[in-house]
């Protein structure tokens, strides 16, 4: 029993990271219809910025967390203003290729600045454990789950109760109508990029004690992408559910199924789900207007 709880908790923690990155994808997709393949690499940059603030500047963990979120938000805002805004009017495919290219550049830049060796920093959660149901659970896992919950609550409040959040919802439902109502659609889109950059930074810093930081953690974005598609691209609850589902599937298949299956379990499940429900679990049924 205690083994099951342990596996469940580590799957949940891993799943929360996927869910956070998937959340970043979905926020951008819902608003701007752009598919951001570089989200995983934004997360990697967030982790590196956190490392720089904590180890390089000696900042407190919490200050560094806020600092990294702000830096990544500003960076993503600028990214939208200077790069992504220019491809409006090109097919979705072009945006996918563009963000794949951005991912390559981010990875190269990170390896030039911070080197190719894995790095680590100390957090208040490192090495601690808490007992749940007789099973020792690492504090790191708990911090990830709690962090995800808090962040989701904040985002929910933002979208539901603030004028900016309502404007964001309006812009994602109908750009033209929002524009006519006096909403600065361009700035709103850039703000959405900023939010998903910030979410990526949180994901990166929460992930850092679980694995080491190196340039390859951006590839985690691919699995998060599978999570977003599994949940139905464009559905925020779907992204969260998909992320957690994939995290759990991975951990359990790693323990109970054959060797090495862990790495592709997420993709096998994704393919099966897509063949049965082409729009993902929570996606709206596809009906195209002619």
């Amino acid at each position: 029993m205690s083994q099951v709880i342990q596996i469940f908790m580590s799957g949940l923690a891993e799943g929360c990271i996927y869910a956070l990155v998937a959340l970043g994808f979905v926020l951008i997709y819902k608003a701007t219809e752009m598919v951001n393949f570089a989200q995983g690499d934004l997360m990697m940059l967030g982790a590196f910025v956190g490392y720089f603030l904590i180890v390089g500047l000696g900042a407190n963990y919490w200050i560094a967390l806020v600092g990294a979120v702000v830096i990544m938000a500003v960076f993503s805002y600028a990214l939208d203003v200077f790069v992504l805004r220019r491809v409006i009017g090109q097919p979705q495919f072009a945006v996918v290729m563009l963000t794949i290219g951005l991912g390559f550049v981010f990875r190269a830049a990170a390896s030039m600045i911070w080197g190719a060796n894995p790095l680590a920093f100390v957090t208040p959660f490192t090495d601690g454990t808490t007992s749940i149901g007789g099973a020792p659970i690492p504090d790191v896992s708990l911090s990830i789950v709690a962090g995800t919950a808090v962040l989701c609550g904040l985002l929910f409040a933002l979208f539901q109760y603030t004028p900016v959040g309502v404007a964001m919802q309006a812009a994602s439902q109908n750009q033209l109508a929002a524009y006519y109502m006096g909403i600065p659609v361009k700035r709103i889109f850039a703000l959405i990029w900023a939010i998903s950059g910030g979410v990526a930074a949180v994901a990166g810093i929460l992930l850092a004690p679980l694995t080491l930081i190196d340039t390859s953690i951006g590839f985690l974005g691919l699995k998060a992408f599978a999570a977003a598609v599994l949940g139905g691209f464009g559905s925020i609850p779907g992204a969260l559910a998909g992320g957690i589902a994939i995290g759990l599937i991975e951990q359990f298949s790693g323990v109970y199924l054959m060797d090495g299956f862990k790495d592709i379990a997420a993709y096998v499940v994704l393919l099966l789900v897509l063949f049965v429900r082409p729009q993902g679990l929570f996606g709206a049924a596809a009906r195209k207007r002619v």
């Binding site: 409006i88 190269a108 830049a109 993902g280």
Partner: protein, 358 residues
């Protein structure tokens, strides 16, 4: 300035636009055939590598450029072709049977993945093909008895026309012939009713369907043909790398193939070849550039992928039609020399075309 007058319907589906174009291509072919007389073996090897990549890019172009279906699993198709071919060779099948058979097997796999993937659109299709790529890689690693597992196996080297297949210039001529064959097949498909149907369903599925194009059938055909061509390239790719191991056919290869198609220019086989030439030659060019850069920059490990990314970004921002688009502009510039206007190729208006279902 030259005008093309089409005086019959046959002219419209001719393989070459006019006599001048045909003569230029024949001249290029003559130059390529004569290349082994002057070039060293290293450069012949590089050229045949580009030819092999071109075959795969032509296959992907058929699917992505002409049918409008994104695929992130062509690296896996190339791998399936290479493995199938090498395993057949191991079992004693001669070269001239093994290569087409490998292509057929890959086409079968392509149809098998294409058929269920038909219901998927846009990003869901991209993700499903990406997932397929990972699964194929897993199969390569874990199907020990056939693929040799993680460590892989060396590709047997059959004798063709009395020489070992990896001898130059024989290998060079074989890949050149294979590329010509692939181009001939692909071009013929595109000027036949099948190709027209593919283009129609790329431009509008609804319109194509109402004109009587069966979507299921043509999408499956497109997947199968594309995979078949890529598998055919895989047979030669196996010899080029000499030793098959699963990590050669990962997601990065798929992205590289997609890069060729985008950088080359979507919707043109010539673009696919431009793209393959570009991607195939880029590592050598970067290696040459390294000598001129300061030590601290030149020795950075991330230099090559970083440049890849920058070039990709540059193309999408500044030349969305790829090298082929630039080539057309250049040609028009020279053919109407003092009269060229930049506005000829200017897009009339740009807006976000919603791909969302409401």
């Amino acid at each position: 300035m030259r005008y093309q007058f089409k005086t019959s319907y046959d002219r419209d589906i001719d393989l070459f636009g006019d006599a001048a174009q045909r003569n230029w291509y024949l001249a290029l072919l003559a130059v390529l055939c004569a290349a082994p007389l002057v070039l060293e073996q290293f450069w012949l090897g590089e050229l045949s590598y580009v030819f092999i990549l071109s075959i795969a890019a032509v296959g992907l172009m058929l699917l992505t450029g002409y049918t409008g279906q994104v695929s992130l699993c062509h690296g896996a198709f190339l791998g399936i072709g290479a493995y199938a071919y090498a395993v057949l060779l191991q079992r004693g099948v001669p070269f001239f049977v093994a290569a087409p058979l490998a292509s057929l097997i890959t086409a079968g796999v392509g149809a098998a993945i294409g058929f269920p993937a038909l219901r998927l659109v846009g990003i869901y299709l991209a993700m499903a093909t990406l997932a397929f790529n990972f699964i194929v890689e897993y199969v390569f690693v874990h199907w020990d008895s056939v693929t040799g597992g993680f460590s892989g196996f060396a590709v047997p080297q059959p004798t063709v026309f009395g020489y070992s297949i990896v001898d130059y210039p024989l290998f060079y001529y074989l890949t050149l012939a294979a590329l010509l064959f692939a181009l001939f097949v692909a071009n013929n498909i595109m000027r036949a009713p099948t190709g027209r149907a593919l283009i129609a369903l790329r431009d509008s599925e609804v319109a194509a369907q109402s004109m009587g194009v069966k979507l299921t059938r043509y999408k499956t055909i497109s997947f199968a043909l594309s995979a078949g061509l890529t598998g055919f390239a895989g047979a030669f790719f196996a010899h080029k790398i000499g030793y098959l191991a699963p990590d050669a056919f990962g997601i990065l290869l798929s992205i590289q193939l997609l890069l060729m198609v985008v950088v080359g220019g979507l919707g043109s086989f010539r673009g696919a070849i431009f793209g393959a030439l570009f991607v195939g030659a880029l590592p050598s060019v970067i290696a040459l550039l390294r000598d001129f850069l300061p030590q601290s920059v030149a020795r950075q490990p991330g230099l090559e992928p970083g440049l890849f990314g920058l070039i990709l970004i540059g193309f999408i921002l500044f030349e969305p039609h790829g090298i082929e688009g630039r080539w057309r502009k250049l040609r028009l510039f020279f053919s109407q020399f003092p009269m060229y206007r930049v506005a000829t190729f200017k897009k009339q208006k740009s807006f976000t075309k919603s791909e969302r279902f409401r």
